[in-house]
């Protein structure tokens, strides 16, 4: 099963992931990406799209 990791040191808070896959991503009080717990990849296509659209490269697909 595939998943996604988010590197908050790289994130610039553009919010593309939240726009694309709001079930999986959120932004904290600092505007930086957080993965929403308990939702491991509800829609792999949207997750893949969020990774593609992330401007800073903070998101990575993991697993197989």
């Amino acid at each position: 099963m595939s998943g996604v990791t988010a590197d908050r040191d790289v994130c610039v808070g553009a919010g593309m992931c939240v726009l694309t896959a709001p079930e999986l991503f959120d932004q904290d009080d600092e505007g930086l990406v957080v993965l929403i717990d308990g939702k491991p990849d509800p829609d792999p296509a949207l997750t893949q799209r969020a990774v593609l659209l992330c401007p800073s490269g903070a998101l990575r697909v993991t697993g197989s």
């Binding site: 808070g13 553009a14 919010g15 726009l19 709001p22 930086l32 659209l53 490269g57």
Partner: protein, 407 residues
């Protein structure tokens, strides 16, 4: 770098054909580009690598091999740099790299994130309604740029920042100079100085008032300046960026979008009948219109390959967003306006760490402004020959200077 003969290179920036604001680069200029990464001549002398493919632009803008710092010798400039002190550039984080940039940008990210923009959507709706009421009460034909496209985002960014809208004449005039690539260096310097002094006084008044206020500048004073994390000179530069970017960009998008939609009446009708579909229309408008048509300038700080070209440390590079957004490898029938397409990969907001911080605000403003206009003025039509509309050819942000309409 000194051995490149620039005389024979195509002159950049390219202009849209005078009668076609929807073609970012005319056929004659396109034919002169001899590859996806090619040299073009700059109006300030010298040259820059022009990167035009979608994938190459993404790679370039996300790479840390490029600097955005305009003060570096050899940076690709479209106009002569104004005589500036370091103080005049403080807080201007779009021209910073690495940690210096991240430190300032991150103080603003939460302000513009989707859930916070959602909270101000009712305010945007009120602003749009108010502008439309004033427009309807006025004379016909009316200039939609002066009466709607410009005041709506100006009022919203003023409210968000805590800047008095009553001063809009002052800051709009100076913003236009800062965005005009034909403005002389002294005019640019005076505009910067004037705006920084104005914002400095505003920030100082908020700071000494004891109650800085529940707006972006007030919050940054309370949470960042008073805690010693941010200096006032930096806050002034950040406010300057947000004020200019916050109204000029959306204003030009609204004007061009309306002109385009009036030529696609079925899409105009759809905005009224199915406002829930507006998000997809807005994304395609962003792709198709790409108002930052003069590209994003950078300078390589180490050797790097882009699109099969070896770019050496110190060489200037420009990402041409408008052509990347017409890349047929990514967008089918890329030259067509198609509001049903998946336009989400567009680069209208740039890419990389400098990607537009205000994009959730821009999307909300465009959606609410265009659906509001379509609902209130369904019979909107042009009151001028489209070929005669004055364009902002020399502005870093392309758009229409006027849009006469009636209804």
């Amino acid at each position: 770098m000194g051995d490149v003969v620039t005389d024979r290179l195509p002159l950049f920036p390219f202009l849209s054909p005078g009668d076609d604001p929807f073609t970012p680069v005319g056929g004659a200029d396109l034919r002169r580009l001899d590859g996806p990464v090619t040299r073009v001549r700059l109006p300030t002398g010298g040259w820059t690598w022009l990167v035009t493919r979608h994938g190459d632009v993404k790679q370039m803008l996300r790479s840390d091999a490029f600097s955005a710092d305009m003060a570096r010798p050899g940076f690709p400039l479209l106009r002569q740099a104004p005589p500036q002190t370091p103080e005049g550039r403080r807080g201007g984080f779009i021209r910073m790299d690495g940690e210096e940039h991240l430190r300032l940008r991150r103080m603003l990210t939460a302000e513009f994130m989707i859930k916070n923009i959602r909270r101000i959507e009712p305010l945007i709706g009120d602003v749009v309604d108010g502008a439309l009421t004033a427009l309807q009460a006025g004379q016909r034909p009316a200039d939609l740029v002066a009466g709607f496209a410009l005041p709506v985002p100006s009022l919203v960014i003023c409210h968000l920042l805590g800047v008095p809208y009553a001063d809009h004449g002052f800051f709009q005039q100076r913003s236009a100079i800062l965005l005009d690539r034909t403005a002389g260096p002294l005019a640019v310097r005076d505009a910067v100085t004037g705006l920084r002094s104005y914002l400095g006084r505003l920030i100082e008044d908020k700071r000494v008032s004891g109650t800085p206020g529940d707006d972006l500048l007030g919050r940054l004073i309370t949470e960042r300046v008073r805690t010693g994390e941010l200096e006032v000179g930096e806050l002034i530069g950040m406010a300057l960026l947000l004020l200019i970017a916050g109204h000029e960009t959306t204003a030009n998008m609204i004007g061009l979008s309306v002109l385009l939609l009036l030529q696609h009446p079925q899409v105009w009708d759809r905005l009224r009948a199915e406002p829930a579909q507006a998000d997809a229309v807005v994304e395609e408008l962003l792709r198709y219109l790409t108002i930052v048509r003069q590209g994003l300038p950078r300078q390589a700080i180490r050797d790097v390959e882009v699109g099969g070209r070896r770019i050496r440390a110190g060489e200037p590079v420009t990402a041409l967003l408008s052509l990347a957004n017409r890349d047929a490898e990514v967008f089918d029938a890329a030259q067509e306006f198609d509001p049903y397409r998946e336009a989400h990969q567009h680069l209208a907001f740039g890419f990389g760490v400098h990607q537009c911080i205000g994009q959730p605000l821009a999307r909300a403003e465009l959606r609410i402004a265009l659906t509001g206009l379509a609902a209130r003025l369904p019979g909107l039509r042009l009151a001028a020959d489209p070929a005669d509309l004055p364009k902002r050819d020399n502005s870093i942000v392309y758009g229409l200077a006027e849009l006469p309409v009636t209804w």
